[in-house]
Symmetry: C2
Subunit: 397 residues, 2 copies
Amino acid sequence: MSAISKAMEKLMANSSVLRTMFEEGKQMAVKYGKENVFDFSLGNPSTPTPPEFNDAIRQVLDENDSFSLHSYMSNAGYEETRAAIADDLNKRFGSHYGFKDIAMTVGAANAIVAALKVLTDPGDEVVVFAPYFLEYGNYISNFGAVTTVVPPNPPTFIPDPEEFRNALNERTKAVIINNPNNPTGIVYSEDAIKEIAAVLEEAQKKYGHSIYLITDEPYRELVYDGVQVPFIAGYYRNTLMAYSFSKAMSVPGERIGYLAVSPDADEADRISTGLGIAIRVLGCVNEPSLQQKAIVKVLDKFTDVSVYDTNRKILMAGLDKAGLEYVRPDGAFYLFVKTPTEDDREFSERAKNKYHMLLSPGSAFCCPGYVRIAYCVARDTIERALPLFEQLAEEYR
Amino acid sequence: MSAISKAMEKLMANSSVLRTMFEEGKQMAVKYGKENVFDFSLGNPSTPTPPEFNDAIRQVLDENDSFSLHSYMSNAGYEETRAAIADDLNKRFGSHYGFKDIAMTVGAANAIVAALKVLTDPGDEVVVFAPYFLEYGNYISNFGAVTTVVPPNPPTFIPDPEEFRNALNERTKAVIINNPNNPTGIVYSEDAIKEIAAVLEEAQKKYGHSIYLITDEPYRELVYDGVQVPFIAGYYRNTLMAYSFSKAMSVPGERIGYLAVSPDADEADRISTGLGIAIRVLGCVNEPSLQQKAIVKVLDKFTDVSVYDTNRKILMAGLDKAGLEYVRPDGAFYLFVKTPTEDDREFSERAKNKYHMLLSPGSAFCCPGYVRIAYCVARDTIERALPLFEQLAEEYR
């Protein structure tokens, strides 16, 4: 018998393609020189953190004594932090969250895991829309629930209501959507959200129980061309919003996020109580104190999104020139390119081995035939990569 | 159908007695005045954080640019942090950890949960020794494993080898011990550790697979009267040590800990690989960066343990005078008092309602007939509580 659990053996065998690429990229940079490797594989923000964030940490250190700063607090976090986030959301989105509806978590990922801990038993089903961040499946299986995948709907990648309807059944406890979307960079329009909400309302009636919509929204602030991201909880009552400051503030290593339970959701207060318990029994106990105290001082500070927008435009122009098709991205810092062969893994391998370009295969998002370019890199990296994209595309003509 | 999972419903019904007391204590403080409530319920450190910790945070902010400080890193943490912790352990305990054997986690609790994620499948068994921190049971059930409790062994509370042996079987994947111990305050002697190791070695042979000893050691630095805490990995190969800086450095809210996989353990490298994945799929992704960068600058800085020692001595003298029996504590900041009635909950309720003293019932640690006093409080609180202990004891004579 192996020491490792069967569940972990499976995870180890399917270890994250993206993380593996991240490690490979680091090795290639050592081997070929950093400037000769074009790593478009990971969503690691490339714009600096607003300096006010570090200032906020310094202020927190100056303003607090040892006990008010470093002690245990409630598992869901400081009331002041939760209230400030609720107020900020209410001001921006016309919502009416109270502090009790906000649970501070170790990033959005941990918020989703905590929500799943509250909602799911073994055998319950959670629906995701392909292409999707494969980690969702691992989050879902933590507690024995099962992932149901709605197939991709190219070329728009807006979920098809009929396919969505077919994925729902009496075991469905939750649905996860990611908006703006990783890996496509699309932003679900108001109409798309209304359709998702309508299908969910219908399914709730049909199956006689609440189905929660967990919205993963770390890219909420990263949008271009004036596109508006719909406030999903405004369209569907049973919405649990997972947010992270990782991308908008370029602090992914600091793990600052929260889950916002819509106060209009069924059993909202019991879910919030459950979240505190989930955070505790996952061993996190609470979102680290320093981060909680600092973040409320900079809720209106974002990284410079125009940098990503410039990258996006240069990249789109270059791909157009190379004759590569892609989904036009309105948000996040990803661009989803149709591979000129059906075998996206072969395309990705060729890009890596011949051109030292790391592109994540669409298969890693349950959507073969595409590759994802994470354009959160230096502008210069994109500019120097454009001729390589042309050469790569040329090989398939 | 309730929105809440059956597993969470159970957790909500049995919500932590200790956390509930913590909340009750806060309410009583408002009602009766802070100075009139004697809250001995929670292990929230009462000695200040060494000032070098905050200095280290400031240095980290000054020394790093935005990317080297706030970005993603490997799921197990920065190599520098892990290497520094490995070196520190090796210097102190003659071990030979490398950076790869250390995984940075969101406190010791999260380290234990990550270890269980690596080791256990539904139906696997994990053994704990009563009295024990009931959260262990919740950590274990996260992934469907089952808790097996070795009954308490008063008055020493050193595990009885025969009872321990009886708790092991072919489904046993791990054993959790906590040394120095919460709630008893005892420190397992070298002989006790040797006996535990011998039983485990025998069981490994008998059942033909590795059984891992997860040692929960956040109180390692809090010991008195020159007592030595045995370095358990030196006595048993398959040891996974969970550590937190929470207690020794009075930073429980900052959630800084790690799991150290003994390099001599069976499948040590695969366990370490699994830990990185576990940290990722639990949604933590990584221990927050600021804390990781800061902690390595202050590995030799501890809070002033003599403050707890003074509290301990005053409390022991007072309990002696009140004629209450207790287990003599050599470590941590807990004292386990035998209740003069079998009904520890009644005793605890009486203490709370009549004397405004919050004492955790032993039942909350799977050990009725005792109450736990957490003496990590102001010395003055203890001094003023001593007459109340006398009056309380008097009621049972």
